[in-house]
């Protein structure tokens, strides 16, 4: 059992091969090759508009690659609706804007996936929702509507919803944008403990350097000029590695172009 798990950890849970992403004829990124291993925290970084959110859309199967392929658990993303849905059940996604359902309260937002996909009764759902909300620091606010929340609170509520089903893979698009340093620290801790305790694989888009160094096992750097990934690896090593592309080192050291 243990050995089997070890072996699983070597297996990439997600793999992109020669992935090209485009909106119509506008190519956003091309020739991306990378792997996300089971149980790792993968950070996707890069300048604004370089295609990070677009990459997430591809990884969760919402957009089809213009060229190349994406593999999940060793298989290409299914095109058939039913199987795609089954695959997506194993994902939790936090969208850049939170994407809370505005006609539902916070608690109902987090409860919806539980009601859809588990046979828990009302009381248990309520307990679980309370716990998830308290994990993101929103306990007691379950009865508010999204329009009554601040931007950072919406973000955190989106996070709670993404985690509702304890999914195997979590995709977070800029989870710490709009958060104060303290909340953002707590978020890093949360991400790390999710990985540790639930063996979740986590793909995070973020710009926060502190966060990147705190959580990332591996980082993928997308370049908007070259339109492809220019570096991949442990961000601490990339920062100090003289062979790494200078744009990446500058990004990680927060140096301005001179």
């Amino acid at each position: 059992m243990r050995d089997e798990e070890k072996k699983l950890c070597q297996e990439p849970i997600i793999e992109a091969r020669k992935l090209t992403m485009a909106y119509g004829s506008l190519v956003v990124q091309k020739d991306l090759n990378f792997k996300v291993r089971t149980g790792e925290v993968k950070v996707i970084m890069g300048g604004s508009g370089c295609g990070k959110s677009t990459l997430l859309q591809h990884l969760i199967g919402m957009m089809a690659p213009a060229a190349g392929e994406i593999f999940f658990f060793g298989e290409p993303i299914p095109s058939e609706e039913g199987r795609l849905r089954n695959l997506r059940k194993r994902f939790g996604v936090l969208y850049q804007g939170g994407a809370l359902w505005s006609s539902l309260t916070l608690a109902e937002n987090v409860a919806l996936p539980l009601e859809e996909y588990t046979d828990l009764n009302k009381r248990e759902i309520a307990e679980l929702v309370d716990f998830k909300l308290s994990l993101v620091g929103l306990s007691g606010l379950g009865r508010r509507y999204p329009s009554e929340l601040s931007g950072g609170m919406k973000k955190r509520a989106g996070l709670a919803r993404a985690m509702a089903l304890d999914p195997e893979v979590l995709f977070f698009d800029e989870p710490s944008a709009g958060l104060d340093p303290l909340s953002s620290r707590r978020l890093d801790e949360l991400i790390l403990s999710l990985r540790e305790t639930l063996q979740a694989t986590i793909v995070v888009v973020t710009h926060e350097l502190d966060s990147i160094f705190a959580i990332a096992d591996s980082a993928l750097f997308l370049d908007s000029g070259k339109k492809t990934a220019t570096a991949e690896g442990d961000p601490r090593k990339l920062r100090d590695d003289e062979n790494a592309p200078s744009s990446v080192r500058k990004f990680l050291r927060r140096e301005a172009d001179s």
């Binding site: 248990e124 307990e127 309370d130 716990f131 306990s139 007691g140 089903l165 707590r186």
Partner: protein
């Protein structure tokens, strides 16, 4: 991998004055069934007594997920808040303790909303206040609109010609196909019903009077109004409403730009200009539709029909119709924009704004049409 043989459980025992909760098996969503959990919950709640110390033991636990933590946290809260129990979690696995501490890191906000519904009196009171506030808001809106219109006439408004052309395009040419189709069919239907009745009296030729008068004076304007309320009025409400949801309206206001000048005026003016044109077109098309029926069902010729129409329909009738259509244009644009501006900040209220824009517009169109009928009758027009 069947879930059948998998177990989960909890044991309660007393040890050196402490209560020990000893969890075992797999406490995960897939395995732990509702009924069993309920039984366990009752057992655990039962062991919560005043000021007791409760030790959590998880040595025999094989697997867990956050559903277990939700279960446990709820019990812990009851225990601490209602019975003053203390919990000892020394033997809790590290990862689980971390998550539990994270959950406790931010204190709970005392819930500010009462679950109790308002009493009947409160509801009536709030409703009444709401109605008066609504009326006030509407007056404010009309007032601002008139002021901004004045500024526009004086050339002191921030007016974007491009937006205006776009609004004209949407309210005019793009609405033409649907207006044409429906006007043509209405003309056809009225002529058909009329022709069958009039034939009995051998008064076939009066089909022309029937179609001509009813369309030019009443139906063309009302029909175009209803179509435009459903088409353009709804679009105005939805567009402005979603701009409110996105805080675009706030952004305009914070720049000192009046959303009424920027968004509402071009739309109102465009619709007021386009409605008479659409109505005039509807007149022509519906009369043509009537002609087809007249020729097909009765023996009326084109020339007869033409002269009959010219004799029956006066310029005044046409003008009355066109005038009404302009007023309807104002009504449609105002209800659309007003509802859009008053929209809440969530998606559902955009839907409500759209619905109520259409309903308001159609209601007022019919009410005003009735008013006009009376007024014109008194004036003898």
């Amino acid at each position: 991998m069947s879930d059948q043989g998998r177990q989960f459980g909890v044991e309660v025992r007393e040890e050196e004055g402490e209560v020990v909760w000893s969890f075992s098996g797999e406490w995960v969503l897939r395995v732990a069934s509702n009924q069993r959990r309920d039984v366990y919950r009752k057992r655990l709640v039962h062991s919560l007594r005043e000021g007791r110390k409760i030790r959590l033991e998880m040595k025999r636990m094989k697997d867990w997920d956050t559903s277990f933590l939700g279960f446990l946290e709820a019990l812990r809260k009851t225990g601490v808040n209602e019975h003053g129990c203390t919990f000892v979690d020394e033997s809790v696995p590290d990862g689980m303790r971390k998550l539990m501490n994270l959950a406790k890191a931010v204190p709970e906000v005392p819930s500010e909303k009462s679950e109790k519904p308002d009493s009947f009196l409160t509801q009536v009171g709030l409703g009444t206040v709401g109605v008066f506030q609504g009326i006030r808001c509407y007056h404010e809106f009309i007032g601002k609109l008139l002021l901004d219109f004045g500024r526009l006439v004086l050339g002191r408004a921030s007016w974007r010609t491009k937006d205006f052309w776009l609004a004209l395009q949407q309210a005019g040419p793009q609405a033409l196909p649907i207006v044409t189709l429906l006007a043509f069919l209405t003309g056809l239907i009225i002529a058909f019903i009329g022709a069958i009745q009039l034939q009995k009296l051998a008064a076939d030729i009066f089909v022309a009077d029937l179609v001509g008068l009813s369309m030019t004076r009443e139906l063309a304007a009302v029909m175009t109004g209803v179509i435009m309320a459903g088409r353009t009025g709804a679009a105005y409400a939805a567009q402005i409403g979603s701009m409110r949801v996105n805080e675009e309206i706030d952004a305009l206001q914070s720049l000192g730009i009046s959303p009424i000048q920027f968004l509402v005026l071009p739309k109102v003016i465009a619709l007021v200009l386009m409605m008479p044109l659409l109505t005039a077109f509807a007149n022509v098309v519906s009369i043509f539709g009537g002609l087809l029926v007249a020729m097909g069902v009765t023996d009326v010729t084109v020339a007869q029909y033409h002269w009959q129409i010219v004799g029956a329909v006066s310029g005044i009738d046409v003008l009355v119709g066109l005038f009404k259509s302009m007023i309807f244009g104002v009504i449609i644009a105002l209800s659309g924009c007003y509802r859009g501006l008053r929209c809440g900040k969530d998606a559902a209220s955009v839907g409500r704004a759209t619905t109520s824009a259409v309903v308001t517009a159609i209601t007022w169109i019919v009410v005003f049409d009735a008013l006009f009928a009376v007024v014109f009758h008194i004036l003898g027009i």
